[in-house]
């Protein structure tokens, strides 16, 4: 994407730049981007742009939301309504955008540390609710932006600045996590799988429901160098040799480390009601029920309703694990 800015001397070259097929969706005034040579994030952004173009998406109604980290910067390079939020919180922010205006097409693009460590709770609940949004999780096995710390996706034994003697923990199998939490489209590709990625992104843009797309991406600077794995090309070679394409594979079998064989493909594509559909059904149901009453609704009826709803202090007993003080605080 840095592409043609090397030697811009003539107007002709400039006008060619204007005609770059991705101009309409990229913020060219923010180039060059911050990503390292050999990083896969540029590829992911290109595939996103290609898929949006292929689907004829209305860019005015597309929103992209990111958290913090290298992948978190994606929202800043796309010429869409873009929200670069706090660490781990892209999904709840996107939840608000989506539910307050369900006509928006929302994509969350963030990294493994952001979405699965600090934001892990939000991810599983968004999947459970089947919110109508696309989550693209770029997994590079490490915290890149902060200098290469161990992540919940770092394979066992791999070194990071905060696991200098090797990671002790078992990494997440993200497709399995998403599928078992309730996502309705679950896929994994590598940054080598450019055309397949575009196809799956396009499918997700048109899907109604929660799509979780994991993209395995090289981090040559902070993950590979420390683990003596060579550069970005070596990782692409590993992808080429060791990924096993199997659509419909059981996500339970999708464990991944950074050297052995691993599954990629579209693992899951099912339909179930989205949160917003269920919410709209509920609104319809209650409006039918309450419609005849609406005109009669007097101050008295609301009054009696309010009386019935006596405040209670019991709710927090569950949260705090302590007995509620019955009746306390009601004056």
């Amino acid at each position: 994407m840095k592409g043609a800015d090397i030697d811009v001397l003539s107007n002709e070259v400039e006008s060619e730049q204007q005609d770059h097929p991705m101009d309409s969706i990229l913020r060219m005034d923010r180039m060059p981007h911050i990503w390292c040579p050999g990083c896969g994030l540029g590829t992911v952004v290109s595939c996103f742009a290609a898929a949006a173009d292929e689907c004829g998406m209305d860019y005015d109604r597309m929103c992209v939301v990111s958290g913090i980290g290298c992948t978190g910067r994606v929202a800043g390079y796309l010429q869409l309504d873009g929200y670069h939020t706090t660490h781990g919180r892209a999904i709840p922010f996107a939840t608000g955008l989506h539910l307050a205006n369900p006509d928006l097409k929302i994509t969350v693009v963030s990294g493994d540390g952001d979405l699965v460590a600090i934001g892990g709770n939000h991810l599983i609940h968004a999947a459970r609710r089947n919110l109508d949004m696309v989550v693209i999780c770029v997994n590079n096995f490490i915290y890149g932006m902060t200098g290469g710390q161990v992540a919940p996706t770092t394979p066992e034994g791999m070194k990071a600045t905060t696991s200098p003697f090797g990671c002790l923990e078992r990494p997440f199998n993200l497709p399995y996590l998403a599928a078992s939490s309730g996502a309705t489209l679950v896929a994994r590709w590598t940054t080598l799988d450019v055309r397949r990625m575009v196809k799956t992104f396009a499918k997700a843009f048109q899907k109604k429901g929660f799509s979780f797309l994991e993209i395995i991406s090289p981090c040559p600077t902070l993950f590979m160098r420390r683990n003596k794995m060579g550069d970005g090309v070596n990782m692409m070679r590993h992808f080429k040799e060791d990924r096993v394409i199997e659509h419909g594979a059981d996500p339970r079998d999708a464990d991944i480390d950074a050297t052995g064989k691993f599954l990629v493909g579209e693992f899951l594509d099912i339909e179930r009601p989205t949160y917003i559909d269920s919410y709209r059904d509920m609104v319809e149901r209650i409006s039918i029920k309450t419609a005849p009453k609406a005109e009669k609704k007097s101050a008295e009826s609301v009054q009696s309703k309010a009386k019935k709803k006596a405040p209670s202090g019991e709710k927090d007993a569950e949260k705090s694990g302590e007995p509620a003080l019955a009746g306390a605080g009601q004056s």
Partner: protein, 398 residues
């Protein structure tokens, strides 16, 4: 970059959808009244996590938002709830959440995002006693300094403190108005006594309610930048999906919304964020004075504590002591000029608050030594009793 007129528009009030309470008087607790105030202010997006003593706000909204054309969601935690309302606000809704101390702590992270990205929204904090889980069902006013400083970094905040269910209703509306006018999160700092107390709440007709609409840009789409401030330092907003295709970030940013990370950029942004509140203080600050004209001693209080202070003023007057009440309605930004004036009038300012001394420090700072300032602390769990405050007044007058 022109903005919509930020003063009351009855036309905007008429846009309020069906489902709002018909005018009249209602018997509601403070939590329910805050929820109804939000609905009357045209709030149509609510996200929260259950917590005592704020749960009744959520329960009321769960029932009422769907019938008002609004959206309700119970989130997985308060981190999510705060973020969710920011998203809801950017999508064009007037959005709120409700919580109490432990949840308020979790909301601090993204309250900061709301301030940095200049997102209008309202947080209702029905305060209970802490630290930590503390007394879940009992009153305190211990989050007043957290409200001011709880999120990291330098910023100004707007916080209002209601003293009754009726004021929960009116101040909830005012919170939304201020949040839209100044494009910032606004805090309604209620407390357990006010939240759980049931009183008469007067609901005016919709066209009598002042509603400040969002300051939406009318700039051409290719000329809009999201952080070009207006004369009052507040930038006009564009809701998501309206074709402006802007960028918003929690990083320090320039007028384009793009990350701008030099000390100069940082200075410019922090200064404007503070100044948009501080230079408009006179539009934000409200307070109530009771029998202050000839007062020689002032009881300064807010929220539920001010209800006891009010009755102490009566007792003192009956005993021939010229006492008055200054009740803060706007706690942040702090009304230091008013307090300074009062300090020049009275011998002592007595500050009953249900904490071990938070707002009293601001009072001391604002009084500049012109009057004796005396705290009446309370660790929480109950209101002050009158004799304790009376004793403090006597000591102050000595």
């Amino acid at each position: 970059m022109l903005t919509a007129d930020p003063v009351s528009q009855s036309a905007a009030a008429q846009e309020v959808l069906d489902g709002i309470l018909p005018p009249g008087s209602y018997y509601l607790n403070g939590d329910e009244a805050a929820a109804e105030g939000a609905i009357a202010a045209n709030a149509r997006f609510f996200a929260a996590y259950p917590i005592t003593p704020a749960t009744e706000v959520a329960e009321r909204c769960a029932e009422r938002f769907p019938e008002c054309g609004g959206t309700f969601i119970q989130m997985e935690d308060e981190l999510a709830a705060m973020n969710c309302i920011l998203g809801g606000a950017w999508a064009g809704a007037k959005a709120l959440t409700s919580t109490s101390g432990p949840g308020f702590s979790l909301m601090m992270e993204n309250l900061g995002l709301g301030i940095m990205t200049e997102t209008p929204c309202v947080v209702v904090n029905v305060q209970r006693a802490g630290p930590s889980t503390g007394l879940p069902t009992a009153v305190a006013q211990q989050d007043m300094m957290q409200a001011r400083w709880g999120s990291h970094g330098d910023y100004e905040i707007i916080a209002l403190a209601p003293d009754s269910p009726c004021e929960c209703f009116t101040l909830a509306i005012r919170c939304f108005n201020l949040s839209e006018q100044f494009r910032t999160p606004v805090l309604l700092m209620s407390d357990e006594i006010i939240g759980h107390m049931t009183e008469k709440v007067l609901v005016p007709a919709a066209d009598e309610i002042e509603i400040v609409p969002r300051r939406l840009t009318d700039a051409p789409k290719d000329e809009y930048w999201p952080y070009v401030p207006d004369d009052d330092l507040v930038p006009a907003m564009a809701n998501a999906g309206t074709g402006y295709r802007y960028h918003v970030t929690g990083l320090t940013h320039d007028y384009r919304g793009y990350p701008a990370l030099t000390p100069e950029d940082q200075h410019a942004q922090v200064t404007r964020l503070k100044d948009k509140i501080l230079t408009n203080k006179d539009k934000i600050i409200t307070y109530e004075m009771v029998m202050m004209d000839d007062a020689e001693v002032c009881l300064l209080s807010y929220g539920s504590a001010s209800r006891v202070a009010r009755s102490v003023v009566d007792i003192l007057r009956q005993n021939g002591i010229k006492a008055g009440l200054l009740r803060l309605i706007t706690v942040w930004p702090f009304p230091e000029e008013i307090v300074y004036e009062v300090a020049n009038q009275v011998k002592a300012i007595v500050v009953p608050e249900i904490n071990m001394g938070q707002i009293v420090r601001e009072v001391e700072r604002a009084a500049k030594g012109c009057a004796q300032v005396k705290l009446v602390p309370h660790a929480g769990g109950d209101l002050h009793d009158e004799p304790t405050i009376l004793k403090a007044v006597q000591e102050g007058l000595r």
